[in-house]
């Protein structure tokens, strides 16, 4: 239990630091960016060819954007302390509602991609690692290298062309039905699955080469029994650690995939919040992403502790 408590406490401290740093940085960076915030908000509201300096003046007056920065920041901190993330400067809707809606779609997409990476990758890696240099191992290496080398954008377009246009099995874009989830999840998860397959493959090779594996065979276990008993748990630790580290890449990929597939989500919200200088939305989305990242890392810690009893002391 001591290891679990320590891991959770460490991540709780991280969460507090993330909250303070992200909110302060967002607020500061938006003010350091060139350009008039009121104009950018007006552009976000009315579209680029309808924005005028008159509409920007109206936005400035409405939102009090000419108040001192420190006053605006303190107002935001006071609201945050009460659990209020404020309202979007562009849409006027409550940030917590916007983020909850967008985050739900992002989590759905991310979970689908992670599931793919966790189910397909390690299984393929394990089989490849049991026969190093074999056909499956060689093919897996080539496939993994290709998938990792392909930018998410190109992979997404390729999937659209194959499954959407040529075969007609799946919709190219959209988000209203379950089938809409498949292609963006593949675009996001295939690269991660490929990499986790190689990590699992190497861990399998290491486990099957270890003295304890040879000793298990000497004890009279069949190879299949020895593999079942010793390999999955030993291979799980590096795979989980790798996925934990690569969750940040998943977040990056989400922004591209959401844009490409017309999928609503936090990536879309974040990029639009930056473009429109929508500080409350930017703080809300960045804070959510930061806290999710901490939560996923905490989950990874717990999963590793569950898989590896030696770390629980």
């Amino acid at each position: 239990m001591g290891g679990v408590v320590r891991a959770l406490l460490r991540r709780a401290v991280q969460a507090v630091l993330v909250t303070v740093l992200v909110s302060g940085l967002c607020f500061t960076l938006v003010r350091l960016l060139p350009g008039d915030q009121a104009l950018r908000v007006a552009e976000g509201r009315y579209g680029y060819d309808r924005v005028t300096t008159a509409s920007a003046d109206a936005v400035r007056a409405e939102l009090g954007l000419d108040r001192p920065a420190a006053e605006q920041f303190m107002a935001w901190v006071a609201r945050l302390a009460q659990g209020d993330l404020g309202v979007s400067l562009v849409t006027g809707d409550r940030v917590v509602e916007e983020v909850a809606y967008q985050l739900g779609h992002t989590l759905l997409l991310s979970l689908a991609a992670l599931s793919l990476a966790l189910l397909a990758g390690p299984a393929l890696g394990l089989f490849a690692g049991l026969r190093p240099g074999g056909v499956l191992d060689q093919a897996g290496m080539v496939g993994a290298a290709a998938l990792r080398a392909l930018p998410v954008f190109a992979l997404g377009i390729g999937l659209m062309l194959l499954f959407g246009v040529t075969l007609g099995w799946l919709p190219v874009a959209g988000f209203h039905a379950t089938e809409n989830l498949v292609l963006p999840a593949l675009a996001l998860g295939l690269g991660l699955a490929a990499a986790s397959a190689r990590v699992a493959r190497d861990a399998t090779v290491a486990a099957t080469s270890a003295p304890f594996f040879g000793f298990a065979l000497l004890r009279g276990l069949t190879r299949a029994q020895a593999v079942r008993q010793h390999v999955p748990r030993n291979a799980a630790v590096p795979v989980l650690a790798y996925l934990g580290v690569n969750l940040a890449l998943l977040v990056e990929g989400v922004v591209v995939v959401e844009s490409l597939f017309g999928w609503p989500g936090i990536g879309h919200a974040l990029s639009h919040a930056i473009a429109a200088r929508d500080v409350p939305m930017l703080q809300g989305t960045a804070l959510s992403l930061g806290l999710i990242f901490v939560a996923l890392n905490a989950f990874t810690d717990l999963a590793i502790l569950a898989a590896d009893p030696r770390r629980r002391g």
Partner: protein, 505 residues
Amino acid sequence: MRRPPLLLLALTLWPGLTLAQQPLRVVAPFHVESMEPSRDGFNFTRMRVAETLVGADDGGLPVPQLASGWTLSDDRLTWRMTLRAGATFHDGSPVTAEAVAASLRRARAQPGPLANAPLTSITADGPGVVELRTSAPFTPLLAFLAESSSQILAPGSWDETGAVRRLIATGPYRLVGFQPPFRFEVERFEAWNGGPAPAIARAVYESVARGETRALMAESGRADLVFTLDPAGTDRLRRSPRVEVRVMPIPRTQTLKLNAGLPQFSDLRTRQAVSLAIDRDGIARGILRSPAAAATQLFPPTLAEWHVAGLAPLRRDPAAARRLLAEAGWTSGPDGILTREGRPFRFTLRTFSTRPELPVVAAAIQESLREVGIDMQVAVVVSSEIPAGHRDGTLEAALMARNFSLVPDPIGTLLADFGPRGGDWGAMGWASPELIEILATLGRSTEAAERAALRGRASTILQAELPVIPVVWYDHRVAISRRLANVSVDPLELSYRIEAMRWAE
């Protein structure tokens, strides 16, 4: 009306829908963040959920919509708009003059063209007539009333703070699902009495930002009407048996805005030289893939009332450009860049990537200008940096796309662009008293011959003085599923005209 996303996991596909039961799927790049008419209202007028009092035909002339007719008083100060008899809002309540007046008064309080009209009052005169008074004769008012932010909503649409919470409008379709910023769903409003009942019962609007994705949606057959296609995607779509591609000119012109307050651009000869250096044919053919798009004047032929056929066309002539620059005192420096009084002819052009072709065209113009000795740097910024630079005087030049049908009569845009202090998206450091007087007179005049003459003169002044330099005219590129029949495309982009469509099979 947002559907909780995790419910998606529980959704299953609808099996075996017949064509007649399927929704019409419309895809365009425009997000729909809110129901506020001044922000995203154009999405709802295009999808025929909301109506304005007045519509516009392909040429921009006013046609009845929620108003069945109108009269203008002899002093040209009072417009009386007669409402369509028997019209109802989507909640079943009757469309009354008081409700319409309240909706227009609310629209006037929001940013938008109506806020700039010289209106003094908007009142109901009995149950079926709305009276609008202006402080001075203002003939473009009908065009202002046709703009999407002037759409008519029932008073129950907004809350006590004035925020629109429900879209209770009067169009042939009513809103039944709203998932901002990407999607909304509409279904036929059976009580609509503005024309024949729509043949298609349901429609879905989806916003997809990327042009590549929109083109692939059309090609896959999973979208029925796809708007704003990229030129590159259009070529591929033309080979698809599922899709018909229509390309039509629209009243949008790509223009080069020059700060005529700067020494190098205050001289008309240098503005003419810049115009003569630009390779419009190359840009139209190579970048827009539409040879007819090379602009010969500010207004494209689709704006028939403003396009002057006899005007000497803008052309490319680098040799003439060099001559004009020499006459203006510019001489070639050691690095090939022109100088005058020891200062090189160098400036920075701002453009933006919301329209992805703009930076590419900017690069082509940069190359053309270098050939005549002008060093133009390109800064790809966000679009609002252009009005910001206009305001603080730091803007030297900008490349942008100007839509002359935001208000169906271009006079609305011209008044904003070529006033005494120029305009955010128009002239900078340049003003023509004659043009200002012409535009003011056009706002007052109702006499057709006089108006035609004034429009011609305005176009001639803009062609001669070049406060903004036209580069190319835009095409509207639409992919239409071959399953659809009776499709027409609105060149003013006011409507997707879905109420007139039907399934072909």
